[in-house]
């Protein structure tokens, strides 16, 4: 999956979310910022693996890393996540409306 790192350019948020390991990393970060060591511990994947997935998430603007002493500390970008969730909900509601109209249309008396 290609990544774009500059802010303001289209970012593959949904693609970044479409992976079980990345979803797990986000779930852990939802409880507060963590270092790579903290994220690796008990995750069942290597430090390199964690780093790779964090980069994908960062590329989509979903997490942000900052240096704290020797280690990078990662945290959630909640606004971005919220946007992605709302996007899908919006489309879902549009389908509800369209299907309600279809229902009215096909259930009306035969013309």
């Amino acid at each position: 999956m290609p990544q774009r790192r500059r802010s303001g350019t289209p970012a593959p948020v949904f693609a970044a979310l479409g992976d079980e390991i990345r979803l797990r990393l986000l779930a852990r970060l939802s409880q507060g910022p963590l270092s790579i060591s903290g994220l690796t511990a008990g995750s069942g994947i290597t430090r390199q693996g964690v780093t790779k997935h964090l980069r994908v998430l960062a590329g989509a603007g979903l997490v942000r890393g900052s240096r704290r002493g020797k280690e990078s500390v990662w945290q959630l970008e909640r606004r971005r996540l919220e946007e992605a969730r709302r996007s899908l909900e919006q489309i879902s509601r549009q389908w509800d409306v369209s299907l309600a109209k279809l229902k009215l249309f096909v259930e009306q008396e035969d013309s």
Partner: protein, 159 residues
């Protein structure tokens, strides 16, 4: 609303799935979906030309508040009274880039004692650029709320 949403395990961000029971024979539902004039009537679009596999059908949206947008669908599959599918760019953003990825919309029909069970599945959201989507949704928000209200009124008056 009598639609049911399902989010399968795994990448629930890639798809939207709805099922609805329509109290109408399958042949009637099929015509409402695949006769582009009928589709346009319930969906809210003035469509030019029939739906045909491998062809694009398009036309202006007629939903109040959305008349600046166009419906454009590239039909993929027409399997009589069973499957109708097309690709489109959801959101109908007038500034959209034609090279942008599309989502796939699949309508599946099944006969049930009450009439017809319709399942709509839209997939491919994982491939869409998020920035444009966010803009399209913002634009759409108030309009769809108005549509909902119209339907509520219609249902109330028809009852």
């Amino acid at each position: 609303m009598s639609t049911a949403s399902k989010s399968p395990a795994g990448s629930s961000t890639d798809r939207i799935q709805k099922t609805i029971v329509l109290r109408a024979p399958r042949s009637k539902v099929w015509r409402a979906l695949t006769d582009s004039a009928q589709f346009g009537q319930w969906f809210g679009a003035r469509l030019e030309g029939p739906f045909a596999a491998g062809r694009r059908t398009q036309g202006p949206i007629t939903i109040p508040g959305y008349s600046h947008l166009r419906f454009e669908a590239d039909v993929e599959q027409i399997e009589p009274e069973r499957i109708f599918s097309y690709r489109w760019q959801p959101g109908g953003d007038p500034d959209k880039d034609p090279a942008e990825p599309t989502t796939l919309v699949v309508f599946e029909l099944e006969e049930v004692p009450e009439g017809t069970l319709l399942t709509v599945t839209e997939t491919g959201f994982d491939q869409l650029p998020a920035a444009r989507r966010a803009r399209a949704y913002r634009d759409n928000d108030s309009g769809w709320a108005g549509q909902m209200e119209n339907i509520r009124k219609y249902l109330a008056s028809a009852a």
